[in-house]
Structure formats: C-alpha cells, structure tokens
Symmetry: none
Subunit: 297 residues, 5 copies
C-alpha cells in the first residue's frame, strides 16, 4: 500500500521525504518516477526559444500544459511563480528555480546568480527548489559559496534541493566539453558530494574523448556511460535533461536508456513545448509510457 519504500532508503529528513513523496507518488504516474517541465528558458536564452511556438511564451499556457499532461512538477523562476502559480497552486508541484542568468555575456567564467531564496519557495508552497551549479567553472568559489547557503536553508526547511549540475566554463571546454562522459559523470558526483537530493544532468556522450581524463578515454557505450553516472549520484536521485530540441526517436531512446540505468526521471522542456499543444501532450505521453515500465517502489 505504502509506496515510499524507495524514498525510505535515501537518508532524507521528514520534510524532504514528505515533499518528494508528493512529487513522485501523488503526481504524474504516481509510481516513483518523474517527468518535469522546465521553463526557465525565457531567462536563460530569451524569448527566441518561443519563436517555434509563440503560445509557449505565455506562462499560463505552459502551466496548463503541465497540469493537463500530468507532469510531476514545473520549474520556473520567482517572477513567473509570483504572478502565475496562484492559479494552479497545489495542482501541479512547483519547483522554484533559485538562480539563473542570461546567455548574453561569455560563459568562460559561468556563474548563475541567486534571484530567490528557499524561504520564497516555502512561502509559495513549492515542493522543491532548483539550483544551477556550474561544475568546473573558474568562478566555482562564488558558486559554491552561494550554493552552501541554499543547501543549508533547504536542509533547515526540509525542502528538496534539485541541482542542475552543468559542467561549464573555459576549463571544461579545454577538457572534452560540457557533455562528455567525463564531465557529466563528475558533475553528478559533485552534486551528490555537496548534498543535492536530486541532480539534473545532460545525457553523457562517451564518444567525446578529446582531452578528457585518461580513465574516460576508452570505448564506452552510451548505456554504460549513463549507468555509471547514475551510480556516481548514488542516493541523489537523477534526472536526465532533454536539452535543445532534437529528433523524437533519439530523445525517446535517451529516455529509455536513462530509466534502464536507474534514473528517477526526465526533465524535458523545449522538446515538449516547442511544438503545438496537442503534439506536446502526445510527446509527453510517449515519455510517460517509458516511465511506466520503470516504477520505483
């Protein structure tokens, strides 16, 4: 009857467990997997991401999509949460994204500044907070410092912390790039070492081997790579992000391999809403078909 067996083994305090239970077992497929809708691209990339489907520029449209598509949560910035979440409060879990940046300046010293606090998330009834950590950035000192406060608040308030663990910055570019197996694997581990409850990573590319550390300079299949990444995250639940829109079959295969590896779920934005509404729902349903096969109980 109780479906939280899985959550009980993760070393979570009461509030984090309660909130993750809600997200994973009282929304979406209610089977311990998750399909999240990220919607912070308006800040990260600007409105250009909405040109493919102008309706998607309207936060209300996206929230309706999240509800109708029975997503497990929607990740948005404070401004949209303040002005749009009230209409849907409680119907779809809110993941308040706490930091973010524009892509206008260079990414060499990438850093994502805070715009909101865990206390804001509590006030708005959010069930989790999101933080972008740029693993390997030369600005890691500032990044880790502002992250520490977020982690501490999240612990104090019992709020699940989802880390967008993104390899980024000039040093990463010089060592295989941001989606090499080496970089993604390291990023997943960093999130786990630093106390993320959930980590969001890009799907690893084992074929990107130029200048990566020697251990990664070998033949790995993508299944082997994502298996290793899930292991590196250990008790930190893992989400695979969709990234830029790509072919549907490729995305579905990525999704399948991720779930096979033990991921908790998917966080797909542009691949979902950069198409017409009914099409978005259909694609979400296909992703959920995959999640159905991997209950986490």
């Amino acid at each position: 009857m109780c479906t939280s067996q899985h959550l009980s083994g993760l070393g979570l305090g009461t509030g984090k467990k309660a909130r993750l239970y809600r997200i994973l077992y009282q929304h979406g497929l209610r089977n311990g997997t998750a399909l999240f809708l990220p919607y912070d691209q308006g800040l990260e990339h600007g409105p250009r991401d909405f040109f493919a489907n102008p309706d998607a520029g309207d936060p209300r449209y996206i929230l309706r999509l999240a509800r109708q598509g029975t997503f497990n949560g929607i990740a948005i910035q404070i401004g949209l949460a303040e002005k749009f979440y009230w209409d849907f409060a409680g119907e779809v879990p809110l993941i308040l994204k706490l930091n973010g940046k524009t892509d206008i300046p260079s990414d060499a010293d990438a850093l994502s500044p805070l715009h909101a606090t865990v206390a804001d998330a509590v006030r708005l009834g959010a069930d989790a907070v999101g933080y972008t950590l740029y693993v390997g950035t030369p600005a890691q000192e500032t990044d880790f410092t502002q992250y520490r406060r977020v982690r501490d608040d999240a612990q104090r308030f019992g709020m699940p912390l989802i880390v967008w663990a993104y390899p980024r910055g000039s040093a990463i570019e010089a060592k295989g790039g941001k989606d090499s197996f080496y970089a993604v694997d390291y990023a997943a581990r960093v999130a786990s070492e630093l106390g993320a409850d959930v980590v969001k990573v890009n799907f690893p590319h084992p074929e990107k081997r130029t200048a990566v550390k020697q251990q990664y300079d070998a033949d790995f299949s993508s299944q082997q790579a994502i298996d290793a990444v899930v292991r590196s995250a250990n008790r930190t639940l893992l989400l695979v992000s969709g990234g830029e829109r790509a072919g549907d079959d490729a995305m579905l295969e990525k999704a399948r391999q991720s779930m096979e590896a033990g991921a908790t779920g998917l966080i797909f934005g542009r691949n979902v809403w950069q198409r017409e509404y009914a099409e978005s729902l259909r694609f979400a349903a296909r992703l959920q078909e995959i999640l159905t096969k991997y209950p986490r109980e």
Copy 2:
C-alpha cells in the same frame, strides 16, 4: 477540471492556497471537504483517553488509521511528529499542533503555551498548523500575543493556520459555558477577525441560555445555530469538532447539520479511535458518506 474554484474566492496567498488545495482536493474525498483526525489528547487529557482502546495509545496505530481511513490530515504535537511522521511523510497531511497543555491545573485562566513553531511545521513538511485560542480566557493578553507571532509566521511561510477556537475560562463559565451558541458563535467570529484560515469549533448548543447575552436568549434550532456560526466565520473555513465520545447517531446528525450549514468538514478524534480498528474505519466511512453529499467546488 480545476476543482479549486472554491479556494480561489477566499483571499488566500499562493502558499496557503497550494497547501489547502492539497489537503482538500488531493486527500480524503478530494471534493473540497475534510475529515481530520486530531490526536493531541495524550497531552491535553493524558493516557486515560486510551483506556477504552489501548492500541490507540500508539501513534503509529493512529497514523495507520488516518492513512487507511483516507483522512484529510492528522493533527499531532511536535514530539509525535518528529518521531512518527517520517514513516508516513506525505501520505497523510500533517497538521502540526503548535500549542497545548495538560488538564491538571485549573482551567480558570486557561492558556495553551507554544511548543513548536511554524518553522518546525515547514521543516517537517506539514500542510497546516494548529493553534488553540482560548476565547474569553482572563489570560487572553498572553494568548493573543503568542498567537500574533504564529499568525505572522504562518502568513510569511504561506502556511494555513487552523485555530481551535475554544471558549474557555472563568468568565465563559459564568456566561453560559463553553458550548453555548453564544460562546461558539463568538469564538468562530474571533478566529475570523484574527486571521485564521480554518477554524475548529464545538457544535453550538442553543439551549444553553443561562446568562448568555440577550440576543442568544431565544429559541434557536441547532441548525439555525450552526448556520449562524458558519456565517460568522465567513471566509474562514469551518470544522466542527467531535469532542468527547457520544452516541454515533447523534454525532452523525451533528455532522450532517454542520455540512448543511456550509462547514468544510469535521475533526473527530475520540469518537473515531475510542473503538476497535475496523469499527473506527466503519465510523469514518459513515462520516465520509455525509461529506460526499456536500462537495465544495
């Protein structure tokens, strides 16, 4: 599709709306009504309340009952929440009771001291907090002072505030007693005036007229009385409490009249768990049968 129409008209901020939505539309009958299980009698009256059904002394037994009986929430003190809620985190909504007292000293100057904070409730993943306000007590200055801080924190954290509005103290005893129509009606209004999101009252007894204010010294049916009490509470949702165990038929009629009057739900403890487990579930089911007839959408 969206069932929160009702909540949208109550003047709630985002977090309170999200949390009440969870309680009222994602638990129990999911129709905007509520059946809560209060379990603070171990503190308020001592273990003697468990003699009728010794199993009920075990908080785990009660939490299991709340889950299996699909209650909309369970109201417990901080000690039990810290040690027992983890096992059920998220499965049944937690209402953290913030104050309480023993019944050993006299009730003449009744005051219920704080044992926990709204921040504790946030940390434990609670969906509401409970505060006992002794309306009319000679100690009302201290009571209101500590209440003010709770209300302020609840507002700041977006946490629904349920006020146990209990007429109490020597002055009340001299004016008709704690469950006269006069006293209950006044208590419901006080909760509403002071910012409760939900108020818990005893069922009013219009026949208790000795020394009540003149306006209440007339013939009112109990339906008229509870109608008036619900009106006095206005946008503050109203729960009727069961009180001491009494005959089932009387309780069910009380419940029916309350829902007819526009109450949001019931909060019945001893009447539920002072009997054997299967009997408790059966009685809860009969209460829910009534709630089914009064969806709040």
Copy 3:
C-alpha cells in the same frame, strides 16, 4: 464601477494591488493607463540635460509640471525625494528610484548601484520603486544580487517594483546593441522572469539585426516588434520610455504603437521637459489623448 478588473488578473498581493490601483485609477486619466515623468537624468547624464530648458534643473519646477500635467507619477532619486516631495506629498504619486549611476565611466561592465531602499520608499509615502537592471552586463552577478534584495523587500512591503530593463554592456554591443528588437525583447522577458511588476523598456528597433540571434534576423515591422515585447512581459505591465528627445510626431507614433500593442503606458522625460513649461504640458496632453483611446479596465 470597479475599474480594477485588469489589475485583478495580474497575480498581485494586496499592497501592490492597492498602490498600483492608486497610480492607475486615481491619478492621470484614471483609466488604467499611465504617463510617468522620469527625472533621474541629473544623476544619469548630469546637468547637461537641463541646458535646453534651464528651469527643468529645478526639481520643484518638475514636480509642479507633473502635478499640473496630471502625470501618474514622477520617478526621482532619494535626494530629491527627501527635499522636494514633501511639498507635493500625495498629490502626485512618487516612484522612488533606488539605484542609479553617472555616465562618466565606461558602460562595458555597466552596473547601477543602490542609493536607497524600499523602506525609504515606504517612509516617504511612495507608491512604487524603480530599479535599473542592466540586462546582459558582464556585471550581472552583482546586479542580480542587489536586485534580489530589492525584489524581496518590495514583496514584503507590498510595494510595486518597476524595473528599468536596459540591455547594456560589451556583450550587448557585440550582439546588435541596446535597442535592437532582440535585446529589448530579452530585457522585457528577464524583468518578468525576475519578478518586476512593471517593466520600462526602450522602443525596439527590429532593423538593428547585426549579430543578433538568428530568430531576430528577419523582417519585422516595429508594430510586430513591440507586440512581441509586450507578450514577453506577460503579466508584468509594460511602459515604453521616450529616451533622448526626438521629433514629436515620431514619439507620438511610438506611443500609439506601444498602446496598440497592449502597453500600460509611457514614461517620457526629456521629450517632455526639454522645452518650455506650457509646451511641455501641451505635449503631455497629446500623449494622454492617445492613452484615452486605450483604457485598461
């Protein structure tokens, strides 16, 4: 009768709604549109801006103009607010500009430091605060950090927050410049994502296409551009700023297109007061004639 229908759909808390109601429905044309008088050029550009009409260097003169021209508000820095607003307190709404800078150093790493707080605005009876956010500046980390505190205070005090969303800095210069459609559209969205209640933008120039993101490298009319910008701002009310003095007819056409697109109003300074008093009033009246045609009810 109640004209705040429009405000009710914006996701505002009580205090912000009350103050915006005052600005939009109890001042100016009282029809939900706004004509603001910005007067922070003495800090931003220095007294050179007053050479065209030396009287305009006197804050008292400008406040009188704002009152007589029935502007919806005047935006000034703390120093002028402290010394001049008392005489007009309540007669014309005060928008306290919280940050600002000189134009003496280079704009490559543009950042506008704070000079005042939301608490100052409360103390002075202001109905809104203004913050200049340099979207895309390499100093975005510091900018976002000080902005976060302002947003948080504005939320806590129920004070409407108007963001001067200005693309600025070396990266913007390299990508089409500060008033390209791409830059203005992105800026409007950033303000909305980060919680501005009102955003002030420059009128977009779709013909500035050098090095802008691909989606903007196409033929757009200026009407199409401003339509898109208003949509990007979604529930954040949008003001179009006048910028440097230009031909009246061009300005009026800009104003008309903006209102047609759904903007809430205009914030014109130099175009208003860089001429003789009676002329200023006449020009303001012509702008208001346009606003009359676009009531927001």
Copy 4:
C-alpha cells in the same frame, strides 16, 4: 555486528542517533541499556544529601565512581561540568543538566529555571542534555515556554534531550500526588508528546488512588503500571529514577520490573552514592546484572 537496530526505529536524526549510540552501545554494558548517575542533588536538595557519605560531596569522587562503575553517563549542572569534566572528558558521557532549583521555596508553583544552554553542552562535549519539566504545575506556561527553546536547540544541534518528567505542584497534590500511577503515566506521555528523546520518571504507585482520574482508580499491579508507562512513552526511551534512598531489595525489584516493562535503563543517584565507595560499586554492579538480562538490540 551493527547494534543500532533498536535506535534505528525511533525516528531520530543523525546527531541524536550518533550520541545515543555512544551512550548506549559504547559505554556501560554496551547492550543498549543504560545506568546513569545523577548528581544534581547539591542544587536540588543542598549538601544535606552528602551527610550520609561526605566523600560524595566531591564531584571528582563521583566522576571517578561513574568511570570505575562503567556508568553510561553522569548528569551534572553547568558549574561542575565546567570545573570537573575536563579531567574525565570523553571517558564517561556527560549529560548536562540545563535547569534546576533549590527546594527552599514551596513547590506549589514548581518551576525549574534554566542555567545553561544546549550550546554549552555542545561546547563541553556532552552527549545529552537534561531538562526538568514539572508536569501539571500551575507554572506550566513558563515551563513549556523555556522548554520549547531547549527542544528546538536540541533538535538543531542533534543533541539528545532527556526530560526529567516530574508531576509537581498544587494541582498534582490534589489529584493523587506526584508518584501515583495516574501522574507518572501522564508525565511520561507529556514528555513524548513534547519531543523528549528520553524520559526519566519515578516508579509509578498504582495504590495511590485518592482523587486520581477515574480510569486509574482500579486495581493495578506495579508491573502493570510500569508497563503502561513505558507504552505511554512510546518511542521516547524511558529511564526509571531511584529517588530517595530505600532498601536495596526494593530498588532492585523496581529495576527488574522496569526493565521487564521495556525501559531502557535506570538513573540512580542517592541509592548509589549515599554509601561507601566500594559499596556503591557493588550496588551498581547488581543493577547492571539486571540490565544484562535485557539487551536492547
């Protein structure tokens, strides 16, 4: 191999679990039971308690006794901890008693004021803190208020909280007295409801029935009474205190019944040290013989 099975089922956070593990499995019999040496009588009763064995007035003597007798911990006030514990730091666990009072004024409104904080306990390397709660005292408001801060700090620092749950005050005296089954049972439950990790109670006297609540006015054996008290404490570990010196056989029988009922251990002071050193050790050994038979694993 892992002996903490028992502790794992109590709903404890990491720090509290670590510290209780040390006390229960790395000291004394290392079998999950506990024998504590309380030594706060110098404050509570004055030096008169040392007349039977003047050596016992020397804290160093008592600490040596605690170490040589392999007690699981010693409970002392801040003054003795500051000046004497350094010599034995880590060798015998320290329970810092945070409040206390003299027995000079009347006990009618009994209240035990704070002398030290949980932060002091952390600084001194203590493994637990002790707090005397006078259950039923007319001063319960003040008592609960200062207790709340202690509980909150203990939670925040991961410090086990041992509550001396003592029925006391005029109302208790009027309802059967402080060691009636009714009073002790209620006290154990109050400690559990309010978040004690461990509760120290007097052995209940079911034969004291004058004016107790009706449910307790029946024939109970002392075994039945202590069984009920342990159940009332549920996940709060229970210690039985020795109280005034009494006959050894009576004490040992009390100890045996307590352990049989499921208590975690004993906290015996005067019965231990109000006799000559070697005799004290011998009596402690007899108590430990009993504890050996009730491993909690």
Copy 5:
C-alpha cells in the same frame, strides 16, 4: 587507568578533549594512535578515482569498510554525511570535511570553498571537522578569512579542527613543489600557528630541493625530514596522508617513519580502497600493526 595522559598535555578545552578522546581511545586501536579513512576524492578528483575498484564509488561500501576495519574515523563531505552517515551514526567517528573543490579549473590560485559549517558537524554528531588550507596560494587572503571563521566556530563548539595543510599554488610550484621538505614543514607549522588541533600533511621529500629556501637545500634523510615536521607541528597532532596509490612496502615504510617521528597517525584513502574489499582490510591491518607499536599514552 586513565589513558588520556597524552591529551591532557595539549592545551585543549573540554569539548575538544572529549571528542579527541573518543576518536583516539574509544575507536581503532584505542591506544592514542589513529588510522583515518578519507573519502572526499569524488569531489576533489571525480569518479575516475573509483575506476580501479568500482565498488568504492558507493559511500555505503566505504562506511562499512571503515567500520569493519576499525578505522578511527572517516572524512567525508556534507552530502555523503547527510545521506549515508545515519546508518552508521556513532559506530565510526565522523570527520565532516567543511571545504573542497573540483580539480577542473587550474590550481594556480588554489582555494577550497566552504560547503558546510561547524554547526552542521555538531548537528550530524561529528567528532571533528576538516579544513583544507592551501598554504602558499596566491588566494591565501580569502583562504585565511574563511578559515578564521571555521577556527572560531570550532573553538566555540569544542570541535577538534583537523587542517589538511597542503602547499599549493603557482608560488609553491616555483619553489620546490608541494611535497618538498621545505613546503611540508612550512605547512605543518602554519597549521600549528593558526590553531589546528590536528594537521594532515603529505610525507616530506627532502630530495626535492630545486629552488627551496636555502636551509632546506641540504642532505636530509626522510626520517630527519618527518622528525622535523612533527616538531614544527608541536602540540598540533600530526597525521600523514597517503596520497595517490603507490607500492605497499613504500607506504608501510612511510607509515613506520611517521610514527617513529611522533605522528599520531595516518590518513590513507586511495591506498586502502583502490583494491578489493578483503585486500583493503588486510592492508589496513598492516598499517594498524605499525600503530600498535607506537601507543600514545
């Protein structure tokens, strides 16, 4: 009888003494020496360190190893401590590592940012905290500043402070490198001067003499070097770290010389767990054989 003679001569406050006593005399060989298991490589180097023995990527495996191998403590970051230590709480002492970094950006200005606080360590029941100080880094101002707060908190909470004293940064590289006798000796002294209770150093290499200060540009045996380093640390207990995996015999000789010099113990990670489980235990046992010969009493 009392084995803390050694600790009594170190000028420690009560809490630090109690906690070091636990580590040194109630765990491991219980003779005042220490064998620690460091496990922060997942953050410092990434998962590549686990390729030699993939099981070692699982924190639970490592904690089990620490317990079964009777290590005196395990050093981990906050994330692993939060999620994995509860299962082993109190069974093996926790050293919470407070700072750390990835090895992706350059080490020229090495700085290890804080991720956790001494208060976190208290809350988790840790017996010590670890801080990496990059002796000689150009970023030493920031390093010393954040270190100062840690030292201050450690003093206030009575928490032993273990400093990873690592010569690092461009200036060190230009003066003999990070494990020259010169650099290690200086690092040990810096830790002692700045208030470390325990210092962790690399084994000094007196043969690395290029560009070192003149006094170190002479023939020293490695025994002379480590003797000097222990003397430089004076009352700060000294641990020698294993570093990268090397030949077992070389490591054992290093260990022997260190203990001969007066070190308190060893902190060996990769040399222990980069091999199969039973092998790891066997190697740990060989290290403990050495420690047995150097009791510190």
